[in-house]
């Protein structure tokens, strides 16, 4: 592995990304919407009367998980909603790199630039590592930055109990560990899809498959089936890391120079 060549690819990808308004807009839009949604809804919920947020009434009463019940009906409900939102924040590192990965590889197909690139002494691994770093890094930084913004905003608009729930170790660790893994997973899927497909949109849709388990987990938390703690998080991280290894192995095997050069039309 030659670091200089990998860095040259990373620089090129970032330069190209900066000049592609569509990619920049798509990358900025999701975090802005997520942060706005989380802070906005918390702001209004925090200022709503207690009885409006007390769902433990009516014919089908909703009871908070025991870990949140101690916060009271209103703060407990807001904390539960924030747990949901944190799952959506985790979708940022999953959704963003696929735009970059799909464009960066399918874009090479469109401009027919892969052949001169592969004619240089760069290895397939160096090329894929360069493209992966270029796609993963901004997505992870944006995810961390979004979490930091949400946490900073919560310090001002949420009650101390709600804020403490948000910045508890499970989410801080979750953002630190799962964001890069989700971003890597998404990028590898983008590489796999791009190696076989000609349309960046189709490549992006393939990654949507991995959104389903995250949404599923968020529903399970909302339904009170799971309460996230550090132990659950570490197990999840280990599973995602294993899935990553498998997907990465497939991506490298599918990205064959000869196949790509002779079959990409």
């Amino acid at each position: 592995m030659n670091g200089g060549r990998i860095w040259a690819i990373v620089e090129k990808e970032w330069l190209d990304m900066r000049k592609n308004k569509m990619v920049v807009i798509m990358m900025a839009l999701l975090p802005v919407l997520m942060v706005g949604l989380i802070l906005g809804s918390t702001f209004f919920m925090q200022r709503a009367p207690e009885e409006e947020l007390n769902l433990n009434t009516g014919s089908q009463p909703f009871s908070l998980p025991p870990e949140l019940a101690a916060l009271g009906a209103k703060d407990g409900f807001i904390a539960l909603m924030n747990d949901q939102y944190m799952f959506y924040l985790l979708l940022i590192p999953m959704a963003l790199p696929v735009y970059v990965a799909a464009y960066s590889i399918i874009g090479e197909k469109e401009t027919r630039s892969l052949e001169p690139l592969l004619a240089t002494p760069i290895s397939t691994a160096e090329l894929l590592v360069g493209k992966t770093i270029a796609a993963v890094t901004p997505a992870v930084i944006l995810a961390w930055f979004s979490f930091a913004l949400v946490a900073a905003g919560m310090a001002f608009i949420a009650s101390p109990a709600v804020f403490a729930q948000l910045v508890r170790p499970v989410w801080t660790l979750g953002m630190l560990l799962l964001s890069p893994l989700f971003a890597l997973l998404s990028t590898s899927c983008g590489v796999i899809a791009s190696s076989r497909l000609n349309d960046p949109r189709a490549a992006q849709q393939v990654t949507a498959i991995f959104v389903v388990p995250v949404i599923g987990a968020s529903i399970a938390v909302l339904a009170g089936k799971i309460f996230l703690n550090v132990q659950v998080l570490l197990w999840t991280t280990a599973v995602v890391a294993l899935v990553n290894l498998g997907v990465l192995w497939v991506a490298v095997r599918l990205f064959q120079r000869e196949t790509i050069l002779t079959r990409w039309k």
């Binding site: 040259a8 592609n20 027919r112 052949e115 001169p116 004619a119 240089t120």
Partner: protein, 302 residues
């Protein structure tokens, strides 16, 4: 500098290059002619270590293709069929990327050297997407030269260029050929091959013939002169045929086509024989065969 032995490439059973044995010498400009699908681009891709041969062996700049691919890639420059530039990046950014990938020591000065040499320095900070086809082709040639490779592969260097741009590119290739580089050109442009190449290989999966353009012509047609007469009669034909050094005589469009070994020395005797037999000689000219004619005759016979 480039050597292949029984080089063969198949794609899922389809034969692309068959048993190619070839040697291209250092400093030589070698033209590779053949119809679409003849295996020209596949040969270049194998020699540039982009794809692996199915059978046979090849060496480029002393490095074995398939075993020392990194060294092969580092010692060749390649102009692919399409320029394959990054349209959103400017000319300088495009070249800087490749200079770094090739491990060029002084990236800045090498990029400047080739942008200046190809007349693109003033437009170095413009996105390549706005360049004309000719400018893109020149930039792609500059990219292939950044690391000063001793071997240069040019796949259809003037295809799809207007005559003016094609001329600029051709002139640049001529300039490069004087620098001791080995240049391997795949082309459909027969005039270009005739002008630029020291030797030409004609391929249709198998190598049909390799020689210098002039030797190819001589090998196929020998040397002949066309003699225009006021009237061609059997007596005149017989008079020429009677000369011992004449290889053949044919009547073509009111002229006699006379095949000779050494036209400059033998023409006076031919004219004298015709005049003595009562012929009125109007013009005598050396018959020229275009490389196009050579190519089609070789293809027809393959």
């Amino acid at each position: 500098m480039i050597r292949t032995e029984d080089l063969t490439k198949r794609f899922n059973g389809t034969l692309a290059v068959d048993d190619l044995t070839l040697e291209v010498r250092q400093g030589e400009v070698f033209g590779f002619l053949g119809p679409n699908g003849a295996g020209k681009t596949t040969t270049v891709r194998v020699l540039a270590a982009l794809i692996a041969p199915t059978a046979g062996r090849a060496w480029v700049n002393g490095y074995r293709v398939g075993r020392e691919d990194d060294a092969v890639r580092a010692s060749v420059g390649i102009l692919t069929e399409t320029p394959g530039l990054y349209p959103r990046l400017d000319a300088e950014q495009n070249l800087r990327l490749f200079a770094k990938l090739y491990g060029v020591d002084d990236v800045g000065s090498q990029v400047k050297k080739y942008l200046t040499m190809l007349g693109l320095w003033e437009r170095r900070d413009e996105p390549v997407g706005g360049f004309s086809k000719g400018m893109r082709q020149k930039l792609a040639i500059a990219r292939a030269l950044l690391h000063e490779p001793p071997v240069l592969f040019l796949d259809e260097p003037t295809a799809a260029l207007d005559p003016e741009a094609a001329r600029v590119v051709r002139d640049f290739i001529e300039e490069l050929s004087g620098q001791g580089r080995t240049i391997f050109i795949c082309t459909h442009n027969l005039d270009e091959a005739d002008r630029l190449c020291d030797r030409i290989g004609v391929i249709k999966q198998r190598l049909i013939r390799v020689d210098a353009p002039e030797a190819l012509r001589r090998g196929l047609y020998g040397q002949s002169v066309l003699i225009q007469l006021q009237e061609v009669t059997p007596t005149l034909v017989a008079a020429v045929e009677a000369l011992p050094f004449v290889k053949s005589v044919a009547q073509v469009d009111g002229c006699l086509r006379v095949a000779l070994d050494d036209p400059e020395a033998q023409n006076p005797a031919v004219v004298r024989a015709l005049v003595e037999a009562g012929g009125a000689v109007q013009f005598v000219e050396k018959e020229e065969h275009s490389l196009e004619q050579v190519y089609f005759d070789l293809m027809g016979g393959s």
